[in-house]
């Protein structure tokens, strides 16, 4: 890639400034001793201390993370199998029909998905709480995983599978030793996308939380009447920093594994 000239650089800087200003504005005021988002008084860590003292907030944060991890894991497993099945459906019409049904779930508004889950859970008699949130998060993450994995599968040459079968691989071996290693980047991409979708989902979660179980986005929203406290700024700051570390960590691992032997599987 050639060096960027001045104008594209400026444009890039401008876009990044617009994207990051709100976050840094929020972070800046998390150190404000004044207690509001207007007028910076003096530097303090007290809002960060308040985050760790508020056990309820910590519990909600943990709830949010657990739901995100588990829902991403389960939806990735289901989504990968779904994508593999879709690829190997022979009838083109059926394949396209299933794919379209998958895509409809992605574009349909969260509010509708959330409301229909609420009605479904009440009908079936599932108590609102951890289970209802987890199930609905898994459900809306699956189509995303499918979409992330499909292109990788389509990229794969069918002769790879033929070769594997010729060499005596069982169907199981084909899946675990040929297909899955090939589409691994897609699987991880799907997992992380599902993770972020679950972490920041508000609309669906809003309908299915209950009985004392809540996630961070729903909790912050319900503070609207009395005003969001700077504790939330501090918490957002902490989450932002952890995300940053994760991204750097991921990047570092990725670079390390790019050594010439990484392609060989044992």
């Amino acid at each position: 890639m050639g060096k960027l000239s001045k104008l594209p650089k400026l444009y890039l800087a401008f876009v990044f400034i617009i994207l990051y200003t709100p976050i840094f504005y929020l972070l800046y005021y998390s150190f404000n001793s004044g207690g509001t988002m207007s007028g910076f008084e003096s530097f303090t860590f007290e809002h960060y201390a308040a985050v760790f003292e508020d056990t309820r907030l910590i519990m909600i944060l943990i709830n949010t993370i657990v739901v995100a991890l588990l829902s991403a894991l389960v939806s990735t497993a289901i989504g990968v199998l779904g994508a593999v099945t879709i690829t190997f459906i022979r009838k083109k019409a059926l394949r396209n029909a299933i794919l379209s049904m998958n895509n409809i779930l992605i574009v349909s508004p969260d509010v509708i998905i959330g409301a229909s889950f609420l009605i479904l859970f009440t009908l079936v008699g599932v108590k609102l709480g951890f289970a209802s949130v987890l199930i609905s998060h898994i459900a809306f993450s699956i189509p995303i995983v499918v979409i992330m994995v499909l292109p990788k599968l389509q990229e794969m040459s069918p002769s790879l599978i033929d070769a594997a079968i010729d060499l005596g691989a069982s169907r199981r071996d084909v899946l675990t030793r040929v297909i899955i290693p090939f589409i691994k980047p897609g699987i991880f991409a799907g997992f992380f996308l599902a993770l972020t979708y679950s972490l920041d989902d508000f609309a669906v979660t809003f309908f299915v939380t209950g009985n004392g179980f809540s996630t961070l986005s729903v909790e912050i929203y319900s503070m609207a009447r009395a005003g969001v406290t700077l504790t939330i700024n501090a918490l957002s700051g902490l989450i932002f920093i952890v995300t940053l570390l994760l991204v750097f960590g991921y990047y570092a691992i990725n670079r390390k594994s790019k050594n010439p032997f990484s392609g060989v599987r044992k």
């Binding site: 309820r56 943990i62 657990v66 209802s132 009985n211 929203y221 609207a224 009447r225 009395a226």
Partner: protein, 357 residues
């Protein structure tokens, strides 16, 4: 394949550890076991220290959850699938919940502390004899203003808003009943009026306020007032208290022609599982010292007469939050006017907003 399995195992292990930590945290309150109640309240509307104290005193564990609007709360309860033992709706929501049969009558024999509540706040139109609800906090609708930005105007009367010197200075809260109610009050009518000609007169009256109106907005009012970008606002006493907390220049007044008196109340929803625990909680919140501590934390006015002895005398002598008998006589609680009438209010308000553009 191997590393995918490895990653999956790590994720499961991390989740298990987090769930374990959460279970530990949930038990730090001093209470554990099966005896628990679930409380459904507005965000930032209860001193969290009191929940711990309640758990220590009674051994009943409190699961606490928050909501942001009466409508959201009612939907959750109406749909079932939840087992809230306590909820805190506003008075108009209680009427609706009563109609939909969503409430359990309160057994007053289990509430010895009910005697602490000022009789003035009991037995009101929305819930005669307090069969279903116990008052939690109350407040008024009035005018918040910043004397620093004005030349000495005061707001003893709604008429003062029409003062020509306030051109482009007045901010109104974006809510039909509040704004139309203000028009009705300014003309000396009841804010529960169902008389169409009175309502239209009120709308016409409000139209003449147009040159003074800077904006009709929602929660942003607090920020505008705090930053000094607006001088006068029609708002609730609770919101005014928030403004004053951040900007000491701001003052609040309830015009003498009358205004709205609002309540948030504790109720026991139909879906409650631990009705004894719910009564214990209500009784705990009615305790004088507890109510005083809570009012101090939340900053709204408490209906608990006995609690006033434990509060900062400066706060309870403040007529803006604790108006005297005479001023109270002019205040009215919203009545449920029915869907059709509410539609009329909304239409008039919409017409008013369109004329503003």
């Amino acid at each position: 394949m191997k590393d995918i399995i490895r990653v999956s195992v790590v994720i499961l292990a991390v989740s298990a550890i987090l769930i374990f930590i959460n279970a530990k945290l949930a038990n730090t309150g001093g209470a554990s076991g099966k005896n628990s109640i679930t409380v459904f309240n507005w965000g930032e509307y209860l001193d969290p220290a009191l929940l711990k104290q309640f758990e220590e005193e009674t051994g009943i564990k409190v699961i606490y959850e928050t909501f942001d609007s009466n409508e959201a709360m009612m939907t959750k309860i109406e749909q079932g699938g939840t087992t809230y033992d306590i909820a805190v709706p506003s008075e108009y929501a209680i009427e609706k919940m009563k109609e939909s049969d969503l409430l359990i009558p309160i057994d007053k024999a289990k509430l010895p502390n009910l005697k602490n509540i000022d009789p003035y706040f009991l037995d009101l139109a929305f819930d005669p004899e307090n069969k279903f609800s116990i008052p939690y906090f109350w407040g008024t609708l009035g005018i918040a203003y910043n004397p620093e930005l004005l030349d000495g105007q005061t707001f003893e009367s709604w008429e003062d808003l029409w003062d020509p010197s306030l051109e482009q200075e007045v901010v109104l809260v974006d809510s039909a009943r509040e704004v139309i109610g203000m028009g009705l009050n300014a003309l000396g009518y009841s804010l529960n009026s169902t008389n169409i000609s009175e309502l239209e007169e009120a709308a016409d009256k409000l139209r003449t306020l147009q040159p003074n109106i800077k904006a009709i907005i929602g929660d942003e009012i607090t920020q505008l007032m705090v930053n000094g970008e607006a001088a006068v606002a029609l708002t609730w006493s609770g919101q005014a208290a928030d403004m004053m907390w951040d900007n000491e220049d701001i003052d609040y007044a309830v015009p003498e022609e009358g205004s709205n008196l609002w309540f948030d109340n504790m109720v026991i929803p139909r879906t409650a599982k631990n009705i004894d625990g719910a009564h214990a909680f209500i009784n705990f919140m009615l305790d004088a010292e507890i109510a005083a501590q809570n009012a101090d934390y939340v900053g709204y006015s408490t209906p608990n007469l006995a609690a006033l002895d434990f509060m900062d005398p400066e706060v309870i002598q403040d007529e803006r939050y604790y108006p005297d008998e005479e001023a109270r006589n002019h205040l009215e609680v919203y009545k449920n006017l029915g869907l059709e009438m509410l539609g009329t209010y909304n239409e008039l308000f919409l017409g008013l907003k369109m004329d503003l553009q």
